[in-house]
Symmetry: C2
Subunit: 87 residues, 2 copies
DNA sequence: TAGATATTTAGAATATCTTCTAAATATCTA
DNA sequence: TAGATATTTAGAAGATATTCTAAATATCTA
């Protein structure tokens, strides 16, 4: 969970996740949405992948990234526990 | 929301929130649970308060901290949107 | 009031994070 | 195969975060 919280603590990475809601996108396609070098984008994508929030799939010369929604379950439970205050 | 994500990206602060689930506690009571100076604890509590995740109330020489669960609603919605993938 | 206790603020040291450029690797196409 | 495109890796600069000690502020109690 530590890596998940870390990964989510960055506006660029959260925006990447939001973009991926509409389906898988390549590193280049994602990068086109940001004013940032491809290397920096790759770094962010690596952070998200490390945390398990996205999965990568190489297709020819492109690398596609896709949301992995299963990881959000733990987050959700933590937050629900906080909201519920033990209930 | 930026400050909220930032505040949650630290194990000490998340643990503080978990401790507060059982009710308000003073800075000193919270500090006793960690191997950390009172000054550092105060810093973390300030970060949580800035993000709106806790509220402070001074009572005599003590300062009590209490969970503010309303802030978790936005987080919850963001995560549910991610899990739902637009559905 | 003086001293003790609780907490915060100030300032500094160290570690971590974000971003960059340059270079490396992989794949595609003429 | 050579060159073009896509992506990642390496290494460094600058910004931000975490923690500490020392000192400041507020409140309590003898």
């Amino acid at each position: 969970m530590n890596k998940v919280w870390k990964a989510l603590d960055d506006p660029t990475r959260r925006r990447i996740l939001e973009l991926l809601r509409s389906g898988p996108r390549s590193a280049g396609e994602l990068g086109a949405e940001f004013d940032m070098s491809a290397a920096s984008m790759s770094h962010h994508l690596g952070t998200l992948a490390d945390a398990g929030l996205v999965e990568r799939e190489k297709k020819g010369q492109f690398v596609y990234y896709e949301l992995n929604t299963t990881v959000f379950q733990d987050l959700l439970e933590w937050i629900l526990a906080m909201k519920g205050q033990d209930r």
